[in-house]
Amino acid sequence: MIEVHGLTKRYGDFTAVRDLSLRVGSGEVLGLVGPNGAGKTTTLRCLAGIIPASAGTIHLAGHDLTATPVAAKRALAFFPDEPRLFEYLTVRQHLNFVARIYGVRNHETIAQPLLEEFEIADKADQLPGELSRGMKQKLAIACGLLHGPQVLFFDEPLTGLDPLGIRRMKNSILQRARAGATIVLSSHLLHLLEEVCTHVLILKKGEKIADGTIPEVAARFSQGEPTVNLEEVFLRATGGTEG
């Protein structure tokens, strides 16, 4: 469960995110959309505790991110658009390291199925430099899932994946949601959001324009049309302009 009230992030005079409130329940997948510079990544980084919010409160799995950051972070996993890996740790050593950080006692029994699920089991002793970008992405995700997070944040999760990898990633997200995880993902791939998201939130210039289930948001911008896809909704909601 994610509960956010009045989230604001300022950089000097510039406000990247303004007074954002949202609620995502267990098993729900929220798609964060908006033009370039709308504040999607900033929002995700605030929600994941990477950068401090200028104002507002964030609760993750019942923990206040400001008051009890360690407990809140124990429940979350963040997947940046560019996989951040340690250059000199092999695939297996990455999982070993993350297991110690999160205190995952039986990590071998969890790690192996994850490696197999993401098809990198045969790369276990290779360094990131020897992996393709898609495989690095898979390793980053396997590391994030090792401790069984209840809240997952994905920033452009499909970047660099091949078609099979994209399908597997979508299935993986849906599988985690069905298992009760709370998921927020940011992407420009609107067809992905239509496939995996239960809810959508549209940001523009750091402000929320609309949120709700996909049918609710579509209905708001349908202008009486019976079927409107998310791309059309996005264009109408944002006026087809940047930021």
């Binding site: 950089y11 000097g12 900033t42 980084r45 994941a48 505790g49 990477i50 950068i51 401090p52 950051p69 360690v70 407990a71 972070k73 124990r74 979350l76 996993a77 963040f78 940046p80 951040r84 340690f86 250059e87 000199y88 740790l89 092999t90 050593q93 070993n96 390291f97 297991a99 110690r100 950080i101 999160y102 205190g103 995952v104 006692r105 039986n106 990590h107 002793d125 290779q126 360094l127 430099g129 020897e130």
Partner: protein
């Protein structure tokens, strides 16, 4: 086409310069620029203005007509010219011996992406690279003038020296490219690496040997005598370089050095034409011998980028493809998470930092010291080596943190991921500091061990420095070493966290005065912090040892002093880590780099 390439080079240079100037609007760069410019002025530029003593004989940079006769001592000039020619011959020989890959031109990845698919001839690409290397030669000449302007025996002035340096750099650059092209052609003809090396080295050695045999017996005497001008050493060198057949081999190199060693305006003008002819011949050689360089240039650019990335990330430089290796110790899932950072960061460094290697080194030091102490003739050497070990320990403590950087400085790019870990900021900082602290402690322990076992071999040392006291002192310093290393590491890590944009700027290659200034500011900050951190600990320890040695004996007093100093250092470190942890939790790298 060359116009377009010239445009690219000059525009890039102009924009690089403008971006540097614009950055001065930010106070941190401005301060850095002021400090750096002051440093450059006081240490280099000021030398161009006439010294009071030189005022009578030396004038500032002027027209070529103002070139001055050589000053003191003019009789050194032939020897310096001879050694200069020999140095150039060695460099040129290495250019034919060392390369083991196909010829590659130093294009950047962007240049490759834009220029290789463009409708540009291979010859134009060669010209583009030559043009770029000429700009670098000019810059190099400018820098070298700053250094060589103090070589008063040369005569000449800054302008003649600049032209002289340009001839040297241009020739070497062209020779390097020409040699690479020729070697690639030879390789294609089946002249392999070792055969080629044998031919080159054998040829040069034969010429030197033939020349040597032709010298008179007096010229072959190399033992230095008691003369103040070292003529017994320099005369054979002069004779060697002026005797055939070596003199024939050195002739073009001497022409290249001519403008630099010209003692007056007439000699300079006379030296210009032959030097220019050598450069022109080199240019023609390069242009006519150009071979396919595209594949190897792409590979070289990739390698260069990898090296740069590794350097930016603070990692070790790789010479070959990276391979995973065994962990330094078994990391269980339970226990202090800080140790996971030690484990991870030790994996990122050289594989030699293991207990087995440390113990082996310690054993070697002890065995060496024991053997040295049994050799009465080498007692002075043993004491000297002990002193050097002690100095190296001091050097490690002061400068070591700049080299051992497997900490937050290397992980700055991973800040986003580190901040999602369920750990307090101080835990991450502490964990990150452990690996470089362990490495520095290991080095300090080895040097202290060497100093302790070697210095004691001096039978005429101070009487108060008894063996027990020496051991107590060494053990005390060894106990303090980890705390000292940790304290020292706080400063560069704090700099990285407090001024990430400064830190990024200082890690930019090709920086101007502002980057020199920023590095100096960091260095002085480190020195100041070290003094401030050590002063209370050292002061209390010294006071306790001074007072207690009369009551409980010097050895016990040293132990008490060590304990007191350790408490203070640990306390300072605890406060610093706790504070830095807070800074880390608040760090927003995006905001910092945005400003």
């Amino acid at each position: 086409m060359l116009n377009a390439l010239l445009y690219l080079r000059l525009t890039s240079f102009r924009n690089w310069l403008l971006s540097r100037v614009r950055r001065l609007r930010q106070p941190k760069y401005l301060i850095g620029a002021i400090v750096g410019t002051a440093y450059l002025y006081f240490f280099f530029i000021r030398g161009f203005t006439p010294h009071p003593q030189q005022a009578a004989t030396t004038r500032p940079m002027a027209e070529l007509q103002d070139v001055l006769p050589a000053a003191v001592p003019a009789d050194w000039l032939p020897a310096v010219a001879a050694f200069g020619a020999i140095a150039l011959l060695i460099v040129a020989t290495l250019m034919w011996v060392v390369p083991f890959e196909r010829a590659a031109l130093g294009f950047t990845e962007a240049e490759i992406a834009f220029l290789f698919p463009a409708p540009v001839t291979r010859r134009s690409l060669v010209h583009f690279r030559l043009l770029s290397s000429q700009l670098r030669s000019l810059a190099g000449a400018g820098v070298m003038v700053l250094f060589s302007q103090r070589w008063t025996f040369l005569g000449g002035n800054a302008l003649t020296h600049a032209v002289g340096w340009w001839f040297v750099f241009s020739t070497l650059s062209l020779h390097f490219t020409g040699a690479n092209f020729t070697l690639t052609r030879l390789a294609d003809l089946g002249v392999g690496g070792w055969r080629r090396r044998g031919l080159v080295l054998g040829g040069v050695a034969a010429i030197v040997a033939a020349t040597w045999l032709r010298l008179s017996a007096a010229s072959r005497t190399l033992l230095p005598g008691n003369d103040a001008n070292f003529s017994t050493l320099t005369n054979p060198a002069i004779d060697l370089t002026t005797t055939a057949p070596l003199s024939w081999l050195l002739w073009p190199l001497r022409q290249v050095l001519g403008p630099f060693f010209a003692i007056d305006a007439r000699a300079f003008w006379l030296a210009l034409s032959p030097a220019l002819a050598v450069v022109t011949l080199h240019y023609l050689w390069v242009v006519r011998s150009a071979v396919a360089f595209e594949d190897s240039s792409v590979e070289a650019a990739q390698k260069r980028r990898d090296r740069l990335d590794a350097w930016h990330a603070g990692g070790r430089r790789r010479s070959g493809p990276a391979q995973g290796r065994a962990a330094p110790f078994a990391l269980g899932a339970g226990g202090r998470p800080e140790l996971a950072f030690l484990w991870k960061n030790l994996l990122s460094t050289w594989p030699y930092f293991t207990p087995r290697v440390w113990l082996g080194c310690a054993g070697g030091i002890i065995l060496g010291a024991v053997w040295l102490r049994t050799q009465p003739d080498l007692r002075a050497l043993a004491v000297g080596a002990g002193g050097i070990a002690l100095m190296f320990a001091g050097y490690t403590a002061v400068v070591g943190p700049q080299f051992a950087r497997q900490d937050i400085r290397s992980d700055l790019a991973n800040t986003d991921i580190l901040k999602t870990y369920p750990l307090a900021g101080w835990q991450i900082i502490l964990g990150e500091l452990l690996a470089p602290a362990a490495i520095l402690t290991g080095v300090l322990w080895l040097t202290l061990l060497a100093a302790a076992v070697l210095v004691g071999s001096d039978p005429v040392g101070p009487a108060w420095l008894t063996a027990p006291l020496r051991i107590a002192g060494a053990v005390g310093l060894a106990i303090l070493a980890p705390a000292l290393a940790l304290i020292q590491l706080i400063v560069p890590n704090a700099a990285a966290l407090l001024f990430p944009s400064w830190f990024q700027a200082t890690r930019t290659r090709g920086g101007g005065p502002e980057v020199i200034g920023q590095r100096m500011i960091f260095f002085f900050a480190q020195m100041l912090t070290m003094v401030l951190a050590l002063l209370p600990a050292a002061g209390l320890a010294a006071l306790l040892i001074f007072i207690l040695q009369w009551l409980i004996g010097p050895v016990t007093a040293v132990a008490v002093g060590t304990a007191a100093a350790l408490v203070i250092l640990v306390g300072e470190f605890t406060v610093a880590v706790w504070w830095l942890g807070g800074r880390f939790e608040k760090l927003d790298l995006t905001a910092e780099l945005r400003s």
